[in-house]
């Protein structure tokens, strides 16, 4: 299918090993930049921790702002990994092979980023563990009716499953690297390889386990962001209280997740000369996913407005949506619509899909739009509740921006380190795919063939 020449197995291993080689100045610069952002964010959190949320722009009625927006955004980013690795695996979408490792790494790191924000935003973050159900002598328990508790379960489950999925999927590659490295790295890979020796028995168990895990992870793709959307949907607030939210949020999450994968892949393949491994075909397929989800998101926007606007003038729901589109925050709203619904349509043109940097530009803007979407949902609804007397606008202050960009730094810092630890391309599956291609009839013995390489 791919028009590009297929890379040879040795080329694959060399490419991956090259990525694990001595870091170049560009890498170190990026590392320093991300580290700096993290330090800035950490300082902001230190201030919030010691002085309280007075340093934010929050107040009444807007009790949630940038921080919760970041939580939803990063959970959304986390979606795509499982989508690509599990769902597309089950659907046998071949193009996933080259990109799924990056997507999975992205998932794990994005959940690790997202999970910070519910803690950051608490009035008393040192008591965040009170949201966990744990036996204690005070006889206190958590409120299972609260969506915030559902979040705790949804996000922690998602983190566990995606970590397991990533590590299981990476075990054969880790074994390959174990055999190719020495010293400390070798020890690390020995650990990550989980005693992988590549025997037939292991391969049989491995493919089974991977299939089961994929099956197990698939509902999570739908559930996690559905649960996150319930944070809003089960409330009483006009603009939040909507049964549309779960599918709308899942589609949005996939849109932003795929956009983020593309945003990462394009520079990655350029930096490590992986053009023959991550081919324009792969990017093309991902772009199509972007267009599809963008259309779903656009449909959701239309539905929201279509349901709200015909209501009588006194309806608070209608007032909130009119406020969104015409009020104080209208510029953000229209930027969001442009980024999420209009710009992705450019990807309908093959020329744009194939122009790597245009693709990246669109994808970065999609994520700006998706971040704004969450911000618009959270802030415009809160600032314009039912009692007009209580209306008040919100503007984030610097510690919130520090945490927002600090999170970006944290995510990419994890990613940069991850690149040097795990092979960002699954060697085993790539070889498997090549074997598939080499034996078009499909014999069912490829596991054995590949295992020789490992």
């Amino acid at each position: 299918m791919s028009p590009n020449p297929r890379p040879s197995p040795t080329r694959l291993e060399r490419a991956v090993l090259a990525m694990h080689g001595r870091p170049g100045p560009g890498y170190l610069l990026l590392l320093a930049l991300c580290g700096g952002l993290v330090a800035w964010g950490a300082y902001a959190f230190y201030l919030l921790f010691t002085q309280g949320l007075q340093l934010t722009g929050l107040g009444r009625p807007v009790g949630w702002g940038n921080l919760i927006c970041n939580f939803v955004f990063w959970v959304g980013i986390a979606h795509c990994g499982t989508l690509i690795s599990a769902i597309l695996f089950l659907f046998r979408a071949r193009f996933r092979t080259a990109v799924y490792r990056v997507a999975e790494m992205m998932t794990v790191f994005a959940v690790m980023t997202a999970g910070l924000f519910p803690v950051f935003h608490l009035g008393r973050p040192w008591l965040a563990y009170w949201l966990m159900p744990y036996p204690n002598q005070r006889g206190l328990w958590i409120n299972f009716r609260s969506p915030l508790v559902w979040d705790v379960f949804a996000v922690s489950t998602y983190l566990t499953v995606s970590v397991v999925f990533l590590l299981v999927g990476a075990a054969p590659d880790a074994a390959a690297l174990r055999d190719a490295t020495t010293g400390l790295r070798r020890r690390l890979y020995a650990l990550l390889a989980f005693g992988w020796r590549g025997t037939d028995e292991q391969w049989r168990h491995y493919t089974r386990a991977y299939l089961f895990l994929a099956g197990f992870a698939t509902p999570l793709v739908v559930s996690v962001h559905s649960v996150v959307s319930w944070d809003f949907a089960v409330s009483l607030l006009p603009g939040w209280h909507s049964s549309l939210f779960p599918p709308y949020f899942v589609a949005g999450a996939i849109l932003s997740g795929v956009a983020m994968v593309i945003t990462i892949l394009v520079p990655l393949r350029r930096a490590f000369h992986l053009e023959d491994i991550i081919t324009p075909h792969h990017l093309d397929m991902l772009s199509r996913l972007v267009v599809l989800t963008s259309l779903i998101v656009g449909y959701a926007y239309l539905t929201e407005f279509g349901l709200a606007l015909p209501q009588p003038a006194s309806d608070p729901e209608r007032a909130t949506f009119l406020y969104r589109a015409t009020g104080h925050y209208a510029p953000f709203f229209w930027t969001m619509v442009t980024c999420n619904c209009v710009l992705p349509l450019l990807l309908l043109a093959r020329r744009v899909r194939r122009a790597a940097w245009a693709l990246v530009a669109v994808c970065v803007l999609i994520n700006v739009g998706m971040w704004l979407e969450r911000w618009v949902i959270i802030v415009t609804s809160l600032s314009h509740d039912r009692l007009p007397f209580a209306w008040r606008t919100y503007a984030p202050r610097w510690p919130e921006w520090a945490l927002t960009f600090g999170a970006l730094g944290w995510f990419f810092l994890l990613f940069l380190v991850g690149l040097k630890v795990l092979p960002p391309i699954s060697i085993a599956e790539m070889k498997e795919a090549q074997a598939h291609a080499a034996a078009p009839s499909g014999t069912g013995t490829l596991a054995v063939e590949v295992s020789h390489v490992a």
Partner: protein, 968 residues
């Protein structure tokens, strides 16, 4: 399976080990070493830790003299409430009265006498201070009369008697004691003297009036005796149908008092006398056939008939038909009461206005019924503006050696144009008895700080038949000394002073005077009777019968003249309306944190003064709310942030009194009868910058949502949504279901409940920055809507908003840690130490009544002494909200249980309901169908806020009644 206790892994040895380790660990705690709890060695009499002790005393924040019940805990006052036995306040206390507590614990209080050394005031001993004062007075006395002056607040009681004796000892003439009352209704007193020969302010019985017309008299805020007058109006508002009291407000600006009115006549500034004249013209018209008009008054009719309606219309600035309609209402609805002038209508014709209103009252037969003369004891009437100005002139001329300032702040309450600061600069010794720094102490040479009123003995007689007694409710906090005691000590030591000042102890003198009263009243055991009087808070006799009045025809004839036509307006000039507000008062308490933090009910502005413009004027000037305005008058120039208020005429700009800004603009002029003129004109322009204007309101309009409905005679009930379809069963409240009913037809927006809530619940004051960011912590706010849509009809509606304690509270299910949950008594409880601060509850609350602790709040000594020990001080990061004063509920339930009886309706009263002068807030058990709250809540006017959401609030509002427009 339950295991045998002998099989527990914890044996005796292990237990002892653990206990020992725990003991050592506890001993190592750094706090254990420093915290000590020491029991009283000799317990003070009456003080039982944990049990409140109440003292009766008297509020001295304004001349009304409301009775106070001070709640003390462990020897310190923690809250001020009204005295239910006192006929003035009847258990209610206004916002400023309650905030007096903060003056007691004010961190800036003088803790001892200070003396000027160069530019600063340095501490000195009482001996030194009194010696200095004595020497100065003795020297001044030797130089002849008039060299010693005393400027005091009104002291209608023993303190006044002592002051006069002291002044005699100091060789002063009676006129050398000047009584300063900045918001004194002097024109009314002057007019009464001219018309009836009685220089007194009448007492108004609004409960008996069927119609009330206020000409700029903010009687629900600061005018005369606001608590008493609020209760009077509220009584009339409790009647239904035609008998419901109708209130009309006349003036260029719709004040908070006007918000309670049924009709607003937008007379131009200074047009009020023309309105009154028009009313008199119509009332005396033979066609009106008003019976019982005195002949002398009827004789004026031809002269009135000669005034053309067009002239009246031009002078009043409103159509004559509106005046005629009001006159028609007054002739129909008798008795009525016409009140005025207030500070907002105190123009150059204020005395004429007062006279016209008294004539109207006389013509309508109100005098003797709703307007009663003979109640003013006249013990210490405030000096006229002319006398105050005369004092300043003497000071400037260097004719005075010693000026004593007793609870008066000439620099902080007199118009800056009077140049009181320069006058004071000419006095060699200015001695002040202020308790905390004010504008005058900044220029004083000697400050001899008085006790706070809650630390002192005293008595005042606000009216005949009432002697309000004050007694210390706690040991003085600082090394202060009662001002009267200082005067007494110094006076005795003046040459020949002992003859004039024969007493030694002021407290003993106050008690002695009361003993004499008891004896005069014929008490068999005067000592016991006097002690009872102190315990009750005063001596209350039935109000005296109204004194008959005789009209002086000449004075009446003089009053009946159309006021001077308004001078032509220069370009860019607007009428300046200076209005008092309930929180700012005359400015002497305006620095108290509660009064600054709580937003003004009408503008919702806190922490700053502001300048109001009508929307049309603001648009013409290109001004938005918060833009700085430059107000340039003959007296001075100030810059104030603009607030756009549709309740103001287009040709006026309004600035609140009670601050330096209003004083800078107030003219130095006096009216012909010697009253202070507050009206003037100013040029208004954009200053070109933004100012800080912390407002509580988001949008002042209801945006078609009908959040606060009103009812009319035609539609006497509020339509309620159908909530019969429910998925879940209602929560059950087997024993009690605590509930509130708030009557919006009585609520005046006076903010007394808000201050009570701050005091009772340790609600912190956050400051202007927090107010800007929506971090106001008040548990109770007065929501004020101006109408349906911007630019629409002005229809002000108030809605006190606190936690609605919903049956199906949206805040409860979303809390992940059960920090908020529904109690069996229907309260939405908030567990502070369980709260982690997700703020989801606040987001999900449709009423937005939850407040979050964005930062740590510290109550540093002595502020912590005011804290109510029954209520937790909340930490940073937790949510809080109105609890229906759960501590009071628990206390009441505990009392009932201890006495083995059920809780009686009305026994438990939250702080807001306790202090409501209008009795608009009623608390009780909705489970008991006979309770007041249950009966009110099921009435036709009942509605609940955002009821369609199905939250099931425990607060029922009773809709405001709209009087029919056309008077038939």
């Amino acid at each position: 399976m339950a295991s045998d206790p002998h099989d527990l892994p914890l044996n005796r040895r292990a237990f002892l080990k653990l206990a020992g380790a725990a003991g050592v660990a506890a001993g190592c705690s750094p706090r254990a070493a420093t915290q000590k709890v020491i029991p009283y060695v000799v317990p003070p009499e009456d003080i039982v830790p944990g049990t409140p002790l109440y003292y009766r005393t008297t509020c001295r924040e304004c001349p009304a003299g409301c009775g106070v019940t001070a709640r003390t805990r462990e020897g310190r006052a923690v809250k001020l409430e009204g005295n239910p036995e006192d006929p003035v306040g009847r258990g209610a206390l206004c916002a400023r009265g309650q905030a007096a507590l903060q003056a007691l614990y004010h961190p800036d209080r003088f803790i001892g006498p200070v003396r000027r050394r160069g530019a600063t005031l340095a501490a000195c001993g009482w001996e030194e201070a009194q010696e200095a004062l004595l020497a100065a007075i003795a020297a001044a006395r030797a130089r002849g009369p008039g060299r010693v002056r005393l400027l005091t607040r009104p002291e209608p009681g023993t303190a006044g008697e002592l002051q006069r004796a002291f002044m005699r000892a100091a060789g002063a003439r009676p006129a050398d004691r000047v009584v300063l009352e900045p918001l004194d209704p002097a024109p009314l007193r002057q007019a009464a003297r001219a018309l009836f020969g009685r220089a007194e302010v009448p007492a108004y019985d609004l409960a008996a009036a069927r119609s009330v017309v206020a000409f700029g008299a903010d009687f629900l805020e600061t005018w005369l005796s606001p608590v008493e007058l609020t209760r009077g109006l509220s009584t009339g508002r409790g009647r239904t149908g035609e008998a419901r009291t109708r209130l009309t407000w006349v003036g260029p600006r719709l004040a908070l008092t006007g918000v309670s009115s049924d009709r607003w006549l937008r007379a131009r500034a200074g047009g009020e006398p023309a309105v009154a004249l028009g009313l008199l013209r119509e009332v005396l018209d033979p066609r009106a056939a008003v019976a019982g008009v005195p002949a002398d008054l009827r004789a004026l009719q031809p002269r009135l008939a000669a005034v053309a309606p067009a002239e009246i219309e031009a002078a009043a600035g409103i159509p004559y038909a509106a005046i005629a309609a009001l006159a028609h209402e007054l002739t129909r609805r008798r008795p009525s009461a016409l009140l005025g002038p207030g500070p907002a209508s105190q123009g150059p014709d204020a005395t004429r206005l007062a006279a016209l209103l008294l004539l109207l009252d006389l013509a309508l037969g109100n005098v003797g019924r709703t307007v009663r003369f003979g109640a003013d004891p006249g013990l210490d009437p405030p000096s006229s503006a002319a006398e105050v100005d005369g004092l300043l002139a003497s000071l400037s001329a260097g004719e005075v050696d010693v000026l004593l300032v007793h609870h008066a702040d000439p620099l902080g309450t007199l118009p800056a144009a009077l140049r009181a600061a320069e006058a004071l600069g000419q006095v060699p010794l200015v001695a002040s008895f202020a308790t905390r720094p004010d504008a005058t102490t900044a220029r004083a040479h000697l400050v001899l700080p008085d006790h706070h009123a809650l630390e002192s003995f005293g008595d005042v007689s606000p009216r005949r038949g009432v002697v309000a007694l004050s007694q210390p409710v706690m040991t003085p906090l600082h090394g202060t000394r009662p001002a009267s005691q200082v005067l007494l000590d110094v006076g005795r030591r003046l040459p020949g002073g002992e003859a004039e000042v024969p007493w030694t102890d002021f407290g003993a003198l106050v008690r002695q005077r009361d003993l004499e009263r008891a004896q005069r009243a014929g008490a068999s055991d005067a000592a016991t009777a006097s002690r009872d009087a102190f315990q009750r808070g005063g001596r209350y006799e039935a109000a005296p019968a109204p004194a008959p009045v005789a009209l002086a025809p000449d004075a009446a004839s003089a009053a009946v003249a159309l006021p001077r036509a308004a001078a032509a307006r220069a370009a860019g000039e607007l009428d300046l309306v200076l209005f008092p507000t309930v929180l700012r008062g005359d400015g002497r308490s305006a620095d108290l944190p509660w009064l600054r933090e709580i937003p003004d009910a009408l503008s919702t502005v806190s922490w700053t003064a502001w300048a109001e413009l009508s929307p049309a004027t603001a648009a013409r000037l290109g001004v938005a709310a918060g833009d700085l305005l430059a107000l340039d008058g003959a007296a001075g120039r100030v810059e104030l942030p603009a607030y756009v208020y549709p309740g103001l005429r287009d040709d006026a700009v309004a600035v609140p009194l009670g601050g330096a800004e209003a004083l800078a603009l107030a003219p130095a002029a006096r009216d012909p009868s010697g009253g202070r003129v507050l009206a003037s004109r100013v040029r208004v322009a954009r200053a070109g910058r933004r100012g800080r204007l912390p407002v509580l309101e988001g949008s002042p309009y209801q945006h078609g949502q009908e959040i606060v409905p009103a009812v009319t005679a035609a539609a006497p009930s509020v339509p309620r949504p159908d909530l019969s379809a429910r998925m879940y069963p209602e929560p059950r409240h087997p024993e009690h279901r605590w509930a509130l009913a708030i009557d919006l037809d009585r609520c005046t927006g006076c903010e007394a409940c808000v201050v009570a809530c701050f005091a009772e619940n340790n609600v912190p004051v956050m400051g202007p920055e927090a107010a800007d960011q929506g971090r106001y912590m008040g548990w109770l706010r007065i929501e004020r809507y101006l109408g349906e849509e911007p630019g629409g009809e002005l229809d002000v509606r108030l809605l006190p908003m606190m936690c609605q304690q919903c049956s199906s509270a949206p805040c409860e299910p979303v809390c992940p840690v059960y920090a908020t949950y529904h109690t069996a008594e229907g309260l939405s409880a908030q567990v502070y130490n369980r709260c982690v601060g997700t703020r989801y509850c606040s987001n999900n609350c449709p009423y937005k009544v939850r407040t979050f602790n964005w930062r740590d709040v510290r109550f540093e000594r002595p502020l912590d002494m005011q804290l109510n020990p029954d209520v937790t001080v909340r930490a940073r990061g937790v949510m809080e909200k109105c609890t229906f004063c759960v501590q009071r509920i628990r206390y009441g339930e505990g009392q009932a249980r201890a006495e083995g009886r059920p809780v009686v309706d009305g026994e438990i009263v939250p702080a807001c309901a306790q202090t409501c002068a209008a009795e608009a807030i009623v608390f009780g058990d909705a489970n008991d169908p006979a309770s007041r709250v249950a009966r009110l809540a099921t009435g036709p006017r009942g509605f609940r806020a955002l009821e369609e959401l199905g939250t099931g609030p425990a607060v029922t509002y009773l809709a405001r009644v709209r009087a029919p427009e056309d008077e038939s």
